[in-house]
Symmetry: D2
Subunit: 483 residues, 4 copies
Amino acid sequence: MALKTAEQYLDSIRARSLRVFYRGERMASVVDHPVAWPAANCLAEVYRAALAPDSAALLAPEVGGERVNASNLLWRTRDDLIDRVRWERLIGRATGRGALRSPGLDAINALAVVTQRCDRERGTSYHERLLAFVARAQREDLALSGAMTDVRGDRSRRPAAQADPDLFLRVVARERGGVVLRGAKAHQTSAVHCHEHLVLPMTCGPDERDWAIACAVPSDAPGITHVYARQPSDSRRAEGRPLDTGLPDFGGCESLMMFDDVWVPDERVFLCGEAEYTQELVRLFGSFHRFCYGGCKVGIADVVIGAASLIARANGVRERSAVESKLTEMMHLNETMYACALAAALEGRMTAAGTCIPDIALANVTKLNVTRFPFEIARLAADLAGGAMLTLPSQADLEHPEIGPAVRKYMAGAAATDSGERMALFRLLEFLTHGAGAVYFLHESLHGAGAPEAMRNLLRRELPLDAHEAAARRLMARTQPAG
Amino acid sequence: MALKTAEQYLDSIRARSLRVFYRGERMASVVDHPVAWPAANCLAEVYRAALAPDSAALLAPEVGGERVNASNLLWRTRDDLIDRVRWERLIGRATGRGALRSPGLDAINALAVVTQRCDRERGTSYHERLLAFVARAQREDLALSGAMTDVRGDRSRRPAAQADPDLFLRVVARERGGVVLRGAKAHQTSAVHCHEHLVLPMTCGPDERDWAIACAVPSDAPGITHVYARQPSDSRRAEGRPLDTGLPDFGGCESLMMFDDVWVPDERVFLCGEAEYTQELVRLFGSFHRFCYGGCKVGIADVVIGAASLIARANGVRERSAVESKLTEMMHLNETMYACALAAALEGRMTAAGTCIPDIALANVTKLNVTRFPFEIARLAADLAGGAMLTLPSQADLEHPEIGPAVRKYMAGAAATDSGERMALFRLLEFLTHGAGAVYFLHESLHGAGAPEAMRNLLRRELPLDAHEAAARRLMARTQPAG
Amino acid sequence: MALKTAEQYLDSIRARSLRVFYRGERMASVVDHPVAWPAANCLAEVYRAALAPDSAALLAPEVGGERVNASNLLWRTRDDLIDRVRWERLIGRATGRGALRSPGLDAINALAVVTQRCDRERGTSYHERLLAFVARAQREDLALSGAMTDVRGDRSRRPAAQADPDLFLRVVARERGGVVLRGAKAHQTSAVHCHEHLVLPMTCGPDERDWAIACAVPSDAPGITHVYARQPSDSRRAEGRPLDTGLPDFGGCESLMMFDDVWVPDERVFLCGEAEYTQELVRLFGSFHRFCYGGCKVGIADVVIGAASLIARANGVRERSAVESKLTEMMHLNETMYACALAAALEGRMTAAGTCIPDIALANVTKLNVTRFPFEIARLAADLAGGAMLTLPSQADLEHPEIGPAVRKYMAGAAATDSGERMALFRLLEFLTHGAGAVYFLHESLHGAGAPEAMRNLLRRELPLDAHEAAARRLMARTQPAG
Amino acid sequence: MALKTAEQYLDSIRARSLRVFYRGERMASVVDHPVAWPAANCLAEVYRAALAPDSAALLAPEVGGERVNASNLLWRTRDDLIDRVRWERLIGRATGRGALRSPGLDAINALAVVTQRCDRERGTSYHERLLAFVARAQREDLALSGAMTDVRGDRSRRPAAQADPDLFLRVVARERGGVVLRGAKAHQTSAVHCHEHLVLPMTCGPDERDWAIACAVPSDAPGITHVYARQPSDSRRAEGRPLDTGLPDFGGCESLMMFDDVWVPDERVFLCGEAEYTQELVRLFGSFHRFCYGGCKVGIADVVIGAASLIARANGVRERSAVESKLTEMMHLNETMYACALAAALEGRMTAAGTCIPDIALANVTKLNVTRFPFEIARLAADLAGGAMLTLPSQADLEHPEIGPAVRKYMAGAAATDSGERMALFRLLEFLTHGAGAVYFLHESLHGAGAPEAMRNLLRRELPLDAHEAAARRLMARTQPAG
């Protein structure tokens, strides 16, 4: 049976004993630690949705007669791509965070294209290995991470030019039918909650073969250590008062994943030394992931917009024209992002590997808008929320025997609004725009899958101006060159 | 045979003797007058493209075994809608102006939905009449206009409340098996170059039955008079020096079309007095037309971007990072508009009339972006062009025996750029952003198919916030209401 | 002696025993509590700067032969206003937070104008009382708060129309030569660190005399309770690891200040029942405070820009043209805000009270820009910072005996950058844009001294269009009206 | 007697017989030609205003006991600078075009600083010559142009590297106690209406001494030829129907001014070969001129805003909240530009030459805003105007015996609006945003005194980030470097 239940998934992660540090201490369980639980539960939601009647059609497509989670699907048609945009939005909206198995999804699809090409051109057999890995991942419903971003030290220097060669993850030895990895991957989304890491290289020069390594590593492989990132207001999770957290059930997490001489057997290696394929791998993985932001960030924005609208109701001003105008603007910006992702899917194309991939230019257009619009949506939400969003008393104050009644009295809004509910709305919006959720709605929108300059550089290459120039030339007046 | 050649089309218009005034004088021929010719030729391009091998597939779909011009098609599937976005861009790019039969296309598709519903609900037989009209238009390859916008006088008042009831076009009499119309339609795109006008009402209240009139009127019906609008730099067309016009071959035109008691027989009437259907007709016609701007304005922007890029080359600075950055931004904005239109097509849906229509919300999202981005694209183009775009000598100066050589000497750019060509590029960009072309790239982008507030109002209705609010409610912390 | 040292100030606050709750517990000391200390110290900085040789000229003007803190000055000339912009920036830049005695400054200046006018028109003697109060505040160098914003319940309703009349602070009794106040003031900046509160009314209708109350209340008056607001990541202050706080030395705080039948003697009352003066009081207080944001938020932005620049250095990419371009844009936006405030000062005018006040329209223009530009500056800073700003390990991880060396190794940047310093820069920027500092740089920029709509409404009234319309009329072509 | 009347000025220009070509023909009179007249009259307005009672105080300051036109003033104090911002706005608002003697004003003030420094450092005597020239210009109330912008050919190359050395104006011979100039200056504002040209160099390298030439040249010096630039809709001026021109009384003009071996005597030379001073001259001239845009473009925007407001009235929708909101935004943007210029004046500083100059950074901040905000103001004005602005019948149609009454009937607006007046408002706004006036409100705002990149480059140098970085360093957490 292919699909895991959420509980089976959570138990499978509990069963792994990863080495994860948070605030200087070993985390006993990445599932049950109060700070990590919402992120674990958010990943679990992707399992839950695949089995839920109203989302299974999107989240659990049939592959060869079996349902597999859409997060582990090699895309076959444009419809798979279009569906992806839809389910990313659905999960983003359901969690306020997003579908946490997506980096792995982009990794297998990027590798599918590149390994097929490498095999064809170089006689390697990476593609077959990858297909076998994907088949197992589908069968066992594994959560995969996509581990590309190196820590990079001096950003102006290539891997081989760094003061410390480990600042890009690399092969330090080849032994026992495998390779040994050293280095670190930064900002690893949900890596502590995954079964397997798909390690991908960044762009390497021809002389940087040791850094050109792609492979799959089990998350409990010896030698891996995570440093679990702090997030704004993270410790509120541990205080035991859900109101103050804003969004108690879901969240995300990143870690700095360090590889201290991790051994990987050859059958899990998908690229090793073929440096000339790394640029294409980066281009595809980055673009695929950028594309999905037009679904998942749109889903988060749905929640932001909804919360702002509810606060306006609670404040008694929902019908004012200035309020309506701002809500409309937020919707407009949000649907624009969504439209871009849909169009990238619609303009998708088949590859030589037999997979279907989104339009690269439109994928980057999508993400470039995502680096901008959520910030304006958040600003407008804060505008609608008013000052109280960031000057709010705590749940303990609200429930305090002595001052609680006064807090409740003075936090009142328009009729029929409970003060506690009004406070919960403020905290939800605070979470999404200034708390741990802002890591995803704002900062990841900016930097996830690459910074804005990466999109611009790629658009420059993907959208050649020749045709535009020819169009202008055809229309301009003919003049006689000087005789 | 269905498809006319461009020459057949032009001759058919020449054969009509319309009453058109321009600058206080009767225009002898709306085809051969130097000011009107580029607009006539632009409409002819839509005929040309339907027969051209490389565009026929898009522009001349097969309907019932016959090729018909896509401008007269009742959309059958999403693919028809997707194709429409593509051919609108193609024509926009080929002409710097756009596909001038599009308002008629939107009119027949809006009428198709509304007449079917009216017939069903009210027992009328408008739909059949419309289908017969469309069949003839397809068969004879007629150019149709869509005549909706009334002059409206005091914009804060409904039709019946105007000081002069004719400020919205209305039925002033019912006689001889038909109706008599009086009033005027403003900003009529290419109306002088069409065979038939599809007259459509604006939104009417229940007591405004006389204004609720939709029908088809031959362009040479007695009683119609056009006042041909002036455009920036229009008279350069008559000076005989193409360089100064910027874009000599194509253009557009609008007219104020006045109906002085024009009689229309019943079989050409598609709505008459059913005021309650006018709002839906406005909603559909407006939204269909807004949708197409994500194709045609994108095509014009292609030319603007291409011209700006060529000028940067002519100035020797094409490779500067600030230049590349601006060109990339222009491309990004442009592709965003295109993506929105594609998504509106992709999200299209079938109607009870058996036609397929674009998603109304996304159609309006598309247009709301079109009310903004072309202005920024034009600003960036002007930035790249430099001051000379608006301080340029004339063609007569360039060719002047005495000063011509000096003008040529000092208008020189980077090596291999002819001074005359460089001037032609400036003039092309001037045309598109400050000349007659700006009517279309900027002003029509703002107001065509409705002003920005129309989109905002419609989005407010089409995108209800309930689902967003529910999503927020599901995620916020649960609190105990006060006991 | 007029000027207190910072230590004298802090001791004077320690000596007061205010009733302040934070997270459900009474705060023993608002100075020494780890969460409150940075805000206390920030207010102390205003005392420090008045005695520091290089800032005393700005911060400690001479009044009647004595130096007084500029925070307690009734402005005499435009130079006082210009100086204010300068010292607000200086303190904002020195603390990353701002000059916390400013609301009190705006309160006394607004009251000076309004009390003088009320006395003149109504024969009251408020102005004299106010001057006596100000003289004492100057002499004793008291920190004053400005307490205007009521909690307001249903924002669409006036004070008297609220379900609970206490949702706007009001006089509930007149007794013992004074008045008794009940209600609550929201978002009270640094109120727990002030000696006196200047209580101000919001706009009241003619029938809302009980709510039209302005007065001075000692911060330790019986009946006042504060609920100290939570801020993003506030509890990091208590963890004892300064790196994780980002900005260990300074901060701000707000509280919900509740008045449970607080008695105020008549000689401290500056308006009581004269409802018709409340609108002007709101207009002036709001505008004065908006004006100062063009100094203090600019100072914070200086720090944001500086931190972003240092991170770009630490990442080795400071010289890239895209980086330089973004830093320049940030500077440009920042100096625009500053310029607006300077211009508001320059266009200041003398009042009948003998004071000088900034131009009201330009003060609001300043603030309307402040509701926008810091968000864009923050977005650009986040763009430059990269992903690590929000996925950073903690100080405990960096110093951990086991994993610390690896953390240090992988957090390395460009040569000559210490990993710990690089992390401190990320944390500083996180604090300012996503942590407790974002309350001030972003949210207070939006809502402090009123939401954007308040500025727009005021600009509508302050900038009548008559002169603009007349200018257009003079230039348009003359036409002959219809005969 | 110092001040000329407007008539005296116009006669003095009529008396000069300049060699000016327009559309391939010699212009008989640059004053009385219908296309040139509005520009001549606009320059005359600066003479008129200096004698008009209500503007003389601003426009005609007293210098040494005599009134001189402010356009020829060496600034003495900040008040001169502040006044300049005010009178620039006044003239911009009065003409819809601007104060056309301003480039000359900036030229003499830039030369004053640079010649003084050159004399001091190099023992030249340029400053004295300049002062004598300025004294005569004041005494005779001469209109001066500032002629800096060379045609530049390949923009990526310095003067000496051009294929044709004349693409930057240069000294081709030194003879008869003077120098001989060859080359061309582009975009010369009002040069054909000035008495004297102040020729200024662009930045020269140390080896480009021949191009490092500053001097004064009488406008009727032998060898000068102008090619008068075409502007959008320029020929409407000659049609004799003022309604179609939009703004019949005022306008501007540029010319390409070609120097065919023009001799200049030494006493009129202010820099010759001292290439190392050219950069400073460009920096000052450019910045002074950028500064003034915060007055003059603001004045034009006043007219744009006023016209948009009047059109909204004529359309009956002036009181709608969306209309008010847009007008407020336009005002806000406009006052922001104004505030920047005022601040640049306020922050002015005295020079070693005894003159006072605006703050260079803020002058560039001002202009960078001017490269953006007028475009948004124009877009909002077009939004408010509606479609008719660019689809309007002509004056001849309105007055036509046959169709005139119908045109008048259908161009009706809200009650009490004459149709002709409504059309005049549309034409005024068309002129300012899409006609000849757009050259100034939009294109000159972008490129006048340098393109946006020039401002950005200059801001980069003028606003060093050191202090910002130091501020960030002071606040960040201290960490222990690795031991």
